[in-house]
């Protein structure tokens, strides 16, 4: 199953992804981290990927 991955070098910690998918992403020390990649049933990680202003989120390829 594909899972979202944050490029921590690219991330600027703006928090957009955590707003859209609070169960999946959280901001820790000003960087987005995936806290529960399986939680996306309740939100829309594709939208988080599309909205990220620095394109720092991608789907991992299994």
């Amino acid at each position: 199953m594909k899972q979202p991955v944050v490029d921590e070098e690219a991330c600027i910690g703006c928090g957009v992804c955590a707003d859209i998918c609070p169960d999946v992403f959280e901001i820790v020390d000003e960087i987005s981290q995936v806290k529960d990649a399986d939680a996306c049933s309740s939100c829309d990680c594709q939208r988080a990927i599309d909205t990220c202003p620095v394109d720092a989120i991608t789907w991992s390829t299994p």
Binding site: I12, C14, D19, D29, E30, I31, R47, P53
Partner: protein, 555 residues
């Protein structure tokens, strides 16, 4: 591998910018702008603003005389620093050189000796410029409330600059406006008390009203009064050019030059209201509007297939797939994008972009149908009797002004849900791109009066104030606040700051502002705005609906 990043966290940030609604974590962008602006550009913008303040300090100490060259430079430079306008470091470095030259020319001409660093600092090289750009900025003002007011004034002045620039392009001038902008900028370098700065903030609102009135006159005398118009959302089979931003003069030049070329013209985002101007409606190849507001441009510019003209903000850093189809002009800039030069006299030369369009396939259709726009003050004045009748008969119960900006954050779905949840007898008054959250919902009409009365671009919020005044007159009300009109305003960039200050200046109370309050408004400054104007943050749709509409019933 965030370890290296964590280590540097307590050091000076790479940049600091909190001028827009989307600023990182609602606090400030410190690594790169959420808008996509790199730290280098943010810092150069800070330095340019600093030098514009230096110019203003010198110019306001000299004899009170208009100087179009200086005034226009300050105006255009401020405009270039608005969110999503210019991402090109070279443009800002060039403007910084120009600013130094103008400042020193004024110093010599008026024999001004100021010791302020913004007036005396002189670089030896571009390296000096970059170093200075990194060393100065918003956080230099340590007192949180003074900083808040200085930035509130500066951003309001940026909005005024944008609107004044549009007016000057159409030949309208009012020397009091650039004079005020410079007086306000100069004041932000000086020791002023919080009370003095609050007073200056309110004056900024007065001047924003004056500037929007000037721009309204400029637009309507050049292109006629907007007329109620059904705008097509679909596409035709010809290649097209998509025009975004707010510059109507660019629209005029492009429509004229594309006539009989086989190339169609469409609007995007804030250019939508161009479809309602009589001078533009006469062109058969002006097809309609394509897509939605600015933040959806990555998907929509890709699908458009043809070239895109960005006349002002909002530009989003492009995907590679369509980057070579985006043209910038005016204050807009992006590294590597083709810039269409300013007009020297007559019109801009759009032949390159027209040639480009001819080589492109037609746009991919995104949607079908129409939306109705064109209800600026002139058109609504013609309907006032009908509106008053509908109010008296109880068929219109309330108006909600839902003007302002749209943005990319998920919490702006609030505005869609709010519009959907409105009672059937409520009418929305709007201007700006905030409308894209609800203007395709098909909310219907009341006695032929559309439930979304769309006055135009963000600056056409002026029209909403005129409409409110006309309704107040019709009901013999002294005060607009006595009418059943509620304000639920969405903001994003600095023109919205000018519009907000304008509404406060017009005496409008109880404005609800969202989706988040500005990061640059400190708790104490917010207290002042709450105390004087009862400005409020958004809550939930249900809470806000009950609060805003019950206030209408009391009136």
């Amino acid at each position: 591998m965030p370890f290296g990043r964590r280590e540097t966290m307590n050091k000076t940030p790479d940049m600091f910018c909190f001028q827009c609604e989307e600023t990182a974590r609602g606090e400030g962008c410190t690594i790169k702008g959420v808008c996509g602006k790199p730290a280098e550009v943010a810092n150069l913008q800070d330095l340019l603003i600093y030098l514009l303040k230096g110019i203003s300090l010198v110019h306001t100490q000299g004899p009170a005389e208009a100087n179009d060259e200086v005034d226009d430079f300050v105006t255009v430079s401020l405009f270039a620093t608005i969110t999503n306008a210019n991402f090109n470091p070279d443009d800002f470095t060039e403007k910084i050189h120009d600013a130094l030259e103008i400042r020193d020319m004024l110093k010599e001409k008026h024999d001004i000796r100021s010791e302020h660093d913004a007036v005396t600092w002189t670089p030896d090289s571009d390296d000096d410029i970059r170093a200075k750009a990194r060393s100065i900025g918003v956080l230099d003002t340590e007192n949180e409330d003074v900083r808040s007011l200085r930035e509130l004034i500066t951003y309001g002045v940026k909005g005024i600059a944008a609107y004044y620039h549009h007016a000057t392009v159409l030949g309208e001038r009012d020397a009091a406006i650039p004079a005020f902008m410079q007086r306000a900028l100069a004041a932000t370098l000086q020791d002023r008390s919080v009370d003095e700065l609050v007073d200056l903030t309110l004056q900024t609102g007065d001047m924003a009203v004056r500037t929007m009135a000037l721009l309204d006159r400029a637009n309507t005398s050049a292109y006629g009064h907007p007329e109620p118009t059904d705008v097509h959302l679909g596409v035709r089979g010809n290649p097209g050019i998509l025009v975004s931003g707010h510059d109507l003069r660019d629209m005029e030049d492009l429509l004229e030059q594309t006539a009989d070329t086989g190339v169609d013209v469409y609007t995007h985002g804030e250019m939508l209201p161009a479809n309602a101007y009589p001078a533009f409606k006469q062109y058969d190849h002006f097809v309609g509007n394509y897509g939605n507001s600015w933040w959806e441009q990555k998907r929509e510019f890709e699908a458009f297939n043809g070239p895109i003209l960005m006349t002002t903000n909002c530009l989003v850093p492009p995907e590679d797939s369509y980057r070579d189809r985006v043209y910038t002009t005016g204050v807009v800039g992006y590294p590597g994008m083709e810039q269409i030069p300013d007009r020297t006299d007559g019109s801009k030369d759009f032949s390159g972009i027209i040639e480009h369009a001819r080589r492109c396939p037609p746009p991919e259709q995104l949607e079908d149908g129409d939306i109705t726009i064109g209800f600026a003050h002139d058109a609504v004045t013609g309907m006032v009797d009908r509106i008053v009748e509908a109010i008296k008969a109880g068929r219109i119960g309330s108006f909600v002004v839902m003007a302002g900006c749209d943005g990319r954050h998920a919490d702006r779905e609030y505005y869609t849900r709010f519009a959907e949840a409105l009672p059937d007898d409520a009418v929305i008054l709007t201007a700006g791109c905030a409308k894209y959250r609800y203007n395709k919902l098909d909310l219907g009409d009341i006695d032929g009066i559309p439930r979304v009365i769309d006055a135009g671009q963000c600056n056409d919020s002026y029209s909403l104030a005129v409409i409110a005044r006309k309704l107040a007159d019709a009901f013999n009300a002294d005060d607009v606040n006595e009418l059943p009109i509620a304000f639920n305003i969405a903001w994003y960039e600095q023109k919205a700051v000018a519009v907000l200050l304008a509404l406060l200046s017009l005496g409008i109370r109880n404005i609800m502002l969202g989706p988040r309050l500005p990061a640059f408004v400190s708790p104490a400054v917010l207290d002042v705005l709450v105390e004087q104007f009862n400005l409020q943050p958004n809550g939930t749709v249900e809470e806000d609906m009950s609060q805003l509409l019950s206030r209408g019933d009391d009136a």
